[in-house]
């Protein structure tokens, strides 16, 4: 009979219409400004620079301006200029820090390759998506001060990833302290006995072990 297909279709739309009043599966809109969907932990938008402490972000940036992310960034939207002097980093070792670190967010496509290739876990992906600015030229070019955010913020938005990074950095820090203690101990020992052949000091691991896969 000719009309049955149309009637079945009308039945489906009627079921959806009635369902939308009581069945949450058939009423899927979240009213954005009032209701907000919970962002999954892996959500990534634009990168930000991790700083150890919140009160002195510029002083405790983890970034050592090695410019690996600048080379690896597909659209080339990161601009880094090294600093002339050095400053101590979390392990107390003197490191170069970035004098200029700018990301052009009008070009960045949040692909998080910079996070993957950074050997120092200095740059992580943010979860901020309300980024409208009034100034197309200057407003979207974020400089070092705008990008830096404390490590606590990183722990809040990416808990599991931050836990892994924390474990790795702690291991690195402990290794650095053991080595410093080992280097200090022989200095004390020769004072007591003839200087033994100084074991070739293993070069301080410039970079912690190559970045784990779970970036």
């Amino acid at each position: 009979m000719i009309g049955t297909g149309l009637l079945k279709g009308l039945a489906v739309t009627a079921r959806n219409f009635l369902g939308s009043f009581h069945d949450p599966r058939r009423f899927v809109t979240t009213q954005y400004p009032e209701e907000r969907t919970v962002l999954p932990e892996a959500y990534r938008n634009f990168p930000f620079l991790v700083s150890e402490s919140a009160d002195d972000p510029m002083g405790t940036l983890r970034c050592v301006a090695c410019q690996i992310c600048e080379k690896e960034c597909p659209p080339q939207c990161i601009l880094i200029e090294k600093s002339a002097d050095k400053k101590p980093d979390a392990n107390g070792k003197m490191q170069i820090y970035p004098a200029v670190f700018a990301i052009d967010t009008s070009v960045c496509m949040s692909c998080q390759i910079c996070v993957e290739v950074c050997p120092f876990d200095a740059i992580k992906m943010d979860q901020v998506f309300e980024l409208a600015t009034t100034n197309r030229f200057g407003g979207l070019l974020l400089d070092r001060e705008a990008l830096a955010k404390p490590d606590s913020y990183f722990h809040r938005i990416h808990p599991t990833e931050a836990a892994e990074v924390e474990a790795r950095l702690a291991a690195g820090r402990k290794a650095a302290q053991d080595k410093a203690r080992a280097a200090a101990a022989p200095k004390a020992a020769p004072a007591a006995s003839a200087p033994s052949v100084q074991p070739p000091a293993a070069p301080v691991a410039e970079a912690p072990p190559p970045p784990g896969t779970a970036a």
């Binding site: 009979m1 489906v12 739309t13 009627a14 959806n16 058939r26 009423f27």
Partner: protein, 400 residues
């Protein structure tokens, strides 16, 4: 002839009493003028608001069918949305293309609105609530309705735009080919009720059989078939889906409306909704017993409320169909009119004649009468639909 209304007649006669109170003191001709002005004002107010809230209802129902809320930002639950649209339409710039024919371009929406509003004059909204009492009001109604085709073609032709031209051609083909089934589905009603006046038709549908089944035309076999044909043709006459070919957004961008903007664009939509309301109003009058209550017990509800309820039911049906069905192609659409609806309407005329002749048959023969009438309705339907949907069937597939 008026059945004794039980308790509050005041609510029933309220509109007429109000009007008499307003124009009581005026002498003869001035009073007639005041009465008609009040009627016109009431009509425009009621149908203007109905148009406004119909656009909102359409977007809300479409939204709910598509699992989303529909407009809910303007006013509580989106109630101010029509007024927001109105203001937007008024403030939008009215662009007239340089190549367009300015006179026709301007006149098209005006003509469309004028003819659509003309049709409201003869629909009986309630017990003696008829703006103009004509004894051949059906004839007047369909004559005014038919003129809208001219205005749509004017719009398409004067915009001097390829898409608008294609749409104008399609609009002409569609509206003319659906005029015939529309009228032919009305002829059996005229034949059965014996009058061309709308109030006469409603009067003929008075009373209840065994005190529970109203004597509406739709409860007779030929009446039901006529109602279905009328509604399908009404869908096509008001360019509603699945027959919204003239302004088929997927092919012709916006059809004959492509070169219109601002308030003229709003006028076209107002005309479309007025056309839909007028045709639904006439369907209610002809087939669903106009302003009559379905049960004697429900007589206390005023007659114009019943008319409004039935009208809204039909309009929601229009919206429901629009939300579900895709669009027909122009040649399929005209084939449906000429090879399917028209023959069915003619056969329906025969069934109505047989029905009224066999009215006087005694008891057991009533069953024979019903069976014959149903056979006369369903038989041609099955026969013709086989020809129409030849070769169209869901298919089975083999797997490699």
């Amino acid at each position: 002839m008026r059945p004794a209304t039980t308790y509050d007649p005041l609510l029933e006669r309220a509109p007429v009493v109000l009007r008499d109170w307003l124009t009581g003191g005026l002498p003869g001709p001035a009073r007639w003028l005041a009465d008609s002005l009040i009627t016109i004002a009431a009509l425009l107010a009621v149908f203007g608001l109905l148009f406004a809230f119909l656009t909102l209802a359409e977007r809300k129902i479409l939204g709910r069918i598509q699992n989303r809320p529909g407009p809910n930002r303007t006013g509580w639950g989106g109630l101010l949305q029509p007024f927001a649209d109105g203001i937007k339409m008024l403030t939008k710039e009215d662009i007239v293309p340089r190549a367009a024919d300015p006179v026709l371009h301007f006149l098209a929406p005006v003509a469309l609105i004028a003819f659509s509003i003309l049709t409201f004059a003869v629909i009986p909204y309630g017990r003696d609530l008829v703006p103009v009492e004509l004894d051949s009001s059906l004839l007047y109604f369909f004559a005014a309705g038919a003129a809208t085709e001219l205005a749509v073609f004017m719009a398409g032709w004067s915009s001097h735009n390829k898409f608008a031209l294609l749409a104008a051609m399609r609009a002409l083909a569609q509206l003319i080919s659906y005029e015939l089934p529309l009228l032919l589905s009305v002829v059996p009603v005229v034949l059965a009720t014996g009058t061309l006046s709308a109030t006469g038709v409603v009067a003929a549908q008075a009373g209840w059989k065994w005190d529970c089944l109203p004597r509406w035309v739709v409860f007779t076999p030929w009446g039901a078939a006529g109602f279905v044909i009328f509604m399908i043709s009404a869908l096509a006459e008001s360019n509603r889906s699945p027959f919204d070919l003239p302004e088929a957004e997927s092919e012709l961008v916006a059809g004959h409306l492509t070169e219109y903007s601002g308030f003229k664009y709003a006028l076209f939509f107002m005309a479309e909704y007025f056309g839909m309301c007028a045709l639904s109003g006439m369907a209610v009058t002809l087939f669903l017993g106009g302003w009559r209550a379905p049960l004697p017990a429900l007589e206390f509800i005023p007659s114009y409320a019943w008319f409004a309820l039935k009208l809204l039911a039909l309009l929601l049906g229009f919206i429901w169909i629009r939300a579900t069905l895709p669009r027909l192609r122009i040649d399929q659409l005209t084939r449906l009119a000429w090879k399917f609806l028209l023959p069915l309407a003619l056969v329906n005329l025969g069934t109505a004649a047989f029905w009224s002749l066999s009215a006087a048959w005694a008891g057991p023969f009533q069953l024979v009468r019903w069976a014959a009438a149903l056979g006369l309705v369903v038989g041609p339907f099955l026969l013709l639909s086989r020809g129409l949907a030849s070769g169209l069937a869901p298919r089975t597939y083999r797997y490699a």
